[in-house]
Amino acid sequence: MSKPQAMVLAAPGTNRDHDVAFALELAGAEPRITLLEELLANPAVLLRDTQLLVLAGGFSYADALGAGRMWSLAVTHRLGDVLPQFVALGRPIIGICNGFQVLTRTGLLPGALGHNDSGHFQCEWVRLQAPASKSIWTAGLDPIECPIAHGEGRYVHPDVASLAANGQVALRYSGSNPNGSVDDIAGVCDETGVVLGLMPHPENHVIPRQHPRHARGTAAGLGLALFQQGVRYAQAIR
């Protein structure tokens, strides 16, 4: 069986595209990095030969006017309805960090991401726990540890109780909440469960040596597991 084709979408200023491509490769997909302008010029490629879509992290358009705003405008106004169609076909999408910010601004995911309550960019490791949810990416996932690296990651939602009741809270910070997100929410999914957005970077913990306590003998939850789950799903629905 051939590997699922994964498109890693990169806007100008996206900078974790290579990191997530490496994670997808380890997870069994065949990733290719596609520039946003190339996709806008030929949106059909997404539906034709892509089984899994990643909106990678970074500072698209320098995060001017708010993180992810410019990228989301391009998606909303220039990409037509290929993203909703992609979702309707049941194919998995993951937006990481800046990609998560884009997905909330386009309305594919609920809520919004405000400035961290510290007021500035933070880089630190967090522990993530996956509650029971609709997310095909995280349901049943063991806790993972990976870094955050963002300034605008405070998750905001007007009705988190309903969100949780509806099975859309896909990941929570466990132990400490780094940015003031409501209900410790680190990631959410859409109504169907195929679209996941999260602020942390599981793509930066795909081999044990990347863990900051590796020298202490710690071998805690690889972020790779999350990608493996998404890739398996993409493989199964083909």
Partner: protein
């Protein structure tokens, strides 16, 4: 406002910027302020219809997070960027309008502030003005006004006279030449002015203004390293009358003598180049951006990082990591005692850190290694060092150079008036008016444009014959350097501009950021353009490399510069300088009086130079690229400082280690020993993490005072001697360096204040097995702690001496001497470390053994029971800063193996304990107490 529209956007919840601003206001002594509310402004040059406004709100306002109004406020204070200063928000609004199909309109952005006093009432006009001037607006790049501010839009229809002025020099006497030098800010000395006069007498005409400026830039201290290339004669003091080998030549000779097999290129081009593994080369470079950071801290450090990354790109390598070393005045310095025209250290620190974070985080490189130092000597002259490391495939950097007929291609950012005369500015002394006159010398970076340049260059390997970055001096330096020997003919009228109205000399000398210059064969040009188009990067050919050895610059048909490149590059007369060597007292070895060792240890841990830098380090992304194996923060709670950092691609078993050495307090007393000690420290840092001491390459970065003062130059001569001695002893070659001189402030009282002699050494080394990288945190109760190296009473410039003298320079006893046994020790230790059997290793530096043990306990969250000390005097044992030492943790069963492998005596100090306390003879300190001291600054002060 007269016409146009303005949108004010507020966050619904408390804006986190408000709390930070309030804390800054209080730190500046503006204690009557109780709140500062902040909002963002977008100005539109045209009136807008209600429909247009509604659509703009949809684009610019997030209803879950923000509210917005089109009404103009009646109170408060507002700021905007000066026209021409990089404004990414305005650019983004313009792009957003285009994306959603709205008609174009000119845009400017700004901020609105409401400053409240007691009871929430607005503060009076005088306080508002004070806070606007000192906190809200940096008038180097911004202006402020009581709300509503009338915005200024850049004139998009400006025209400039395309003319050239000839400047009479050939008939001037010395006084008139000096006057011209000062009037035009050329920063030349008389011998250089004479060389210019002689050249143009020979040519038979007067120079153009463009030629004069180009010569001034090319011959500036910043670009030409006049002092490091000068003929130096010692006068008075030791060795009087002796001529010293030029400093740069000493460093090069030292590298040549060591003849290390892993050095591919040293002291040539933009960066040093190393090769540790077949098929891959590593480029390393560190730079300073001191003067710009003093007057506009964010933009200064921001463009410093951008510039050093371009140095690595200019060496045809792909950047993989950033380093930064920052020196500030004390952040609690009384605001009312600051020298005139000097920004408060607290604002400098927060601005510099934000600038480094902004550039590094956005360009997508991990900021991994660094140091932060505080000393009153940096009040008026903060120092900002930024370094970059890059990789390339073997041979990719070995380019043939510009060939006759090649195109002169500029790629990346557009050219504006940014940073005119930066090279000459950075070579001059600062005074109270520097911020006023140097405004145009400071720029804000655009990391996304540079990120795209990196992406383009990765796909353009093999498509160009030469590349260099546009740094100080702009096209003048970049094209001027590339044209050396071959010649070039360029038309500056072809350069893409940020806005119209630039005169030819402004285009030629602009230091607009994010530009690279390439030499491209005409038949490769279409392929290169195609790559640029794919990434949305602008590239334009300005002309050709000619082959006639003449640099010709035109604006259309008007020739503005015609210089023989041989004169431009070799015509500068060698500077002759005199130096007086320092005579440090190295005889007396007396420990400072220390009444309470426990209290002293806590005081050392709380000292800003030793205390936790977590509040700064966490602002930098050190995780991106997934290759950071040993991070700057390590240990059980990720809150201890690493010695060196280790980088290794996830797919590689081996990697690189980076270490930093710096100690200006040694430099004040004994510059030669300082240099030796900081080279040793940088090497110790990489050895401690397990890197191979046979593979160390070094970068030197000197920040010094005015070298025309013989005593200051003497300190530099002594420091270079120390560098060469240490490099030779460790067989660790220097591969690149940079000097930033004239870091002085001329006070309004006429007194000159120079920075302490600050030499930053960066060590890069090969790490044979990144899986076995070692960190200093204690790992297991019951393990044995061993002190490696010799301990003597050496307190000159030590932090114990700093504490004892209340922060001033301290001359208690000699600055730590070089240990001749150190190189062999590092080799022996490395053989032990690479087995993976040594559980922790920490190098001893500021604060000595006491601080090192405390750090190991805190980061490991273990205690230690120490029963044997390396010296009978407790003060010396705990706080001496003798060089060449490490503490290692080994399992009890490995102790004999470890001691045997060292091949020299070592001190078995005691054991790691599960009980969380550090016990020493006569001392008992809970780890929690150590941590409270170490982390106090991280919680209460310093950068936000």
């Amino acid at each position: 406002m007269a016409s146009g529209a303005r949108l004010t956007i507020r966050t619904k919840e408390a804006d986190p910027r408000a709390a930070a601003l309030l804390a800054d206001a209080h730190a500046l002594g503006l204690t009557e302020v109780t709140a500062i509310d902040v909002a963002d402004l977008v100005f539109f040059a045209d009136e807008l219809t209600p429909e247009h406004r509604a659509r703009l709100e949809e684009v610019l306002v997030d209803p879950l997070l923000q509210t917005a109004t089109w009404a103009a406020p009646s109170r408060g204070v507002e700021t905007e960027l000066l026209p021409g200063v990089t404004d990414p928000a305005a650019t983004a609004v313009a792009l957003a309008l285009h994306t959603v199909g709205l008609p174009p309109v000119e845009v400017a952005t700004g901020k609105h502030f409401d400053v409240q006093g007691p009871g929430g009432a607005p503060v009076d006009a005088a306080t508002t003005a004070a806070i606007a001037r000192r906190l809200l607006a940096n008038q180097v790049i911004e202006r402020w006004a009581p709300a509503p501010l009338e915005p200024s839009f850049i004139d998009t229809h400006a025209t400039a006279e395309q003319s050239v002025d000839h400047v009479t020099v050939t008939t001037l006497d010395d006084d008139a030449l000096q006057a011209l030098n000062k009037e035009r800010g050329l920063s030349m000395d008389l011998a250089e002015l004479h060389a210019v006069v002689d050249h143009f007498r020979g040519v038979g005409r007067e120079p153009t203004d463009v030629e004069l400026e180009t010569l001034a830039q090319t011959w500036s201290e910043h670009c030409a390293h006049k002092t490091f290339r000068a003929r130096i004669t010692l006068e008075a003091g030791p060795g009087a009358g002796r001529e010293v080998t030029p400093l740069m030549k000493q460093l090069r000779n030292c590298t040549d003598t060591i003849d290390a097999p892993f050095v591919r290129s040293s002291f040539v081009g933009n960066a040093g180049i190393l090769c540790y593994t077949p098929g891959v080369t590593v480029a390393v470079k560190a730079e300073t951006h001191n003067h710009p950071s003093a007057i506009e801290p964010f933009g200064g450090s921001n463009t410093g990082v951008g510039g050093v990354i371009r140095d690595v790109m200019g060496a045809a390598h792909h950047p993989i990591a950033i380093t930064d070393i920052l020196c500030f005045g004390p952040t609690d310095f009384p605001a009312d005692q600051l020298p005139e025209g000097v920004l408060h250290p607290r604002l400098i620190e927060s601005g510099v850190v934000a600038g480094v974070a902004d550039y590094g985080n956005k360009i997508g490189l991990p900021t991994v290694a660094g140091a932060v130092l505080y000393d009153p000597g940096y009040l008026a002259n903060p120092l900002v060092y930024a370094g970059c490391i890059g990789v390339a495939g073997e041979g990719e950097w070995e380019l043939p150079g510009p060939q006759p007929g090649d195109l002169v291609v500029t790629m990346g950012g557009r050219t504006g008036r940014d940073g005119l005369r930066g090279a000459t500015f950075s070579s001059a002394t600062m005074d109270a008016t520097t911020g006023d006159v140097a405004g145009a010398s400071v720029q804000i970076g655009d990391p996304i444009t540079e990120k795209l340049l990196i992406d383009v260059m990765r796909e353009c390997i093999g498509l160009y014959h030469a590349v260099t970055d546009c740094g100080a001096g702009g096209f003048s330096s970049a094209v001027g350097e590339m044209a050396e020997g071959v010649g070039a003919d360029v038309d500056v009228a072809l350069a893409p501009l940020k806005y119209p109205g630039l005169r030819p000399w402004e285009v030629w000398l602009s230091e607009a950021q994010e530009r690279m210059v390439f030499a491209v064969a005409p038949d490769q040009w279409p392929a290169m353009l195609a790559v640029c188009a794919r990434h949305g990067v602008e590239a334009v050919s300005l002309g050709t490399f000619t082959g006639d050895g003449v640099l010709r610059v035109r604006s259309g048909d008007l020739t503005v510069l015609e210089l023989d490149t041989k004169f431009l590059h070799d015509g500068r007369p060698q500077r002759s300088m005199t130096a007086v060597l320092p005579t440090p007292d190295r005889s007396l070895a007396v420990a400072p009086v220390c009444a309470d060792h426990a209290a002293t240890l806590l005081a050392l841990l709380a000292h800003p130079n030793i205390a936790s830098k977590e509040h700064i380090i966490r602002r930098y992304d050190h995780e991106i690229r997934g290759a950071t194996v040993v991070r700057p923060l390590i240990g059980e709670g990720h809150d201890g400082h690493a010695d060196g950092v280790v980088l290794a691609q996830p797919t590689d078993s081996h990697g690189l280690a980076i270490g930093i050495g710096v100690n200006p307090w040694y430099g004040i007393t004994d510059p030669e020993r300082m240099a030796h000690a900081v080279v040793d420290e940088a090497i110790r840092n990489v050895v401690a993490v397990g890197a191979d001491p046979s593979s160390v390459a070094l970068l030197d970065n000197f920040s010094w005072g005015d070298p025309r003062r013989p005593s200051t130059l003497g300190e530099l001569v002594a420091a270079v001697q120390g560098c060469c001695d240490a490099a030779t002893a460790h067989r660790a070659p220097f591969v690149s360096g940079k000097d930033s001189l004239n870091n002085e402030y001329l006070g309004s009282d006429g007194a000159r204040h120079a920075v302490p002699p600050t030499l930053v050494i960066t060590a890069i080394a090969h790490h044979p097995n990144a899986d076995l990288a070692i960190t200093p945190d204690l790992k297991r109760a019951g393990d044995v702690l061993v002190l490696v190296g010799r301990t003597a009473a050496e307190f000159g410039g030590s932090h114990l001496a700093l504490l004892a003298s209340g922060g001033g320079a301290a001359a208690h006893s000699p600055v730590p001497a070089p240990d001749p046994a150190a190189p062999a020790r590092y080799q022996a230790l490395h053989r032990l470390l690479r087995t993976g059997r040594v559980r922790a290793c920490h190098d001893l530096s500021e604060g000595g053994l006491g601080v090192a043990l405390a750090e190991m306990c805190m980061s490991g969250n273990y205690g230690a029971h120490i029963d044997t000390l390396p010296h009978p005097d407790l003060t010396t044992a705990l706080f001496s800063e003798s060089t060449g030492r490490f503490v290692c943790e080994v399992g009890p069963d490995d102790l004999a193996w470890f001691l045997d492998g060292l091949g020299e005596p070592a001190v078995v100090l005691g054991n790691v304990t599960a009980g969380k306390a550090l016990q020493l003879p006569g001392l008992f300190l809970r780890v929690e107490a150590l941590r409270n001291a170490f982390q106090a600054d991280a919680v209460h002060g310093g950068a936000r």
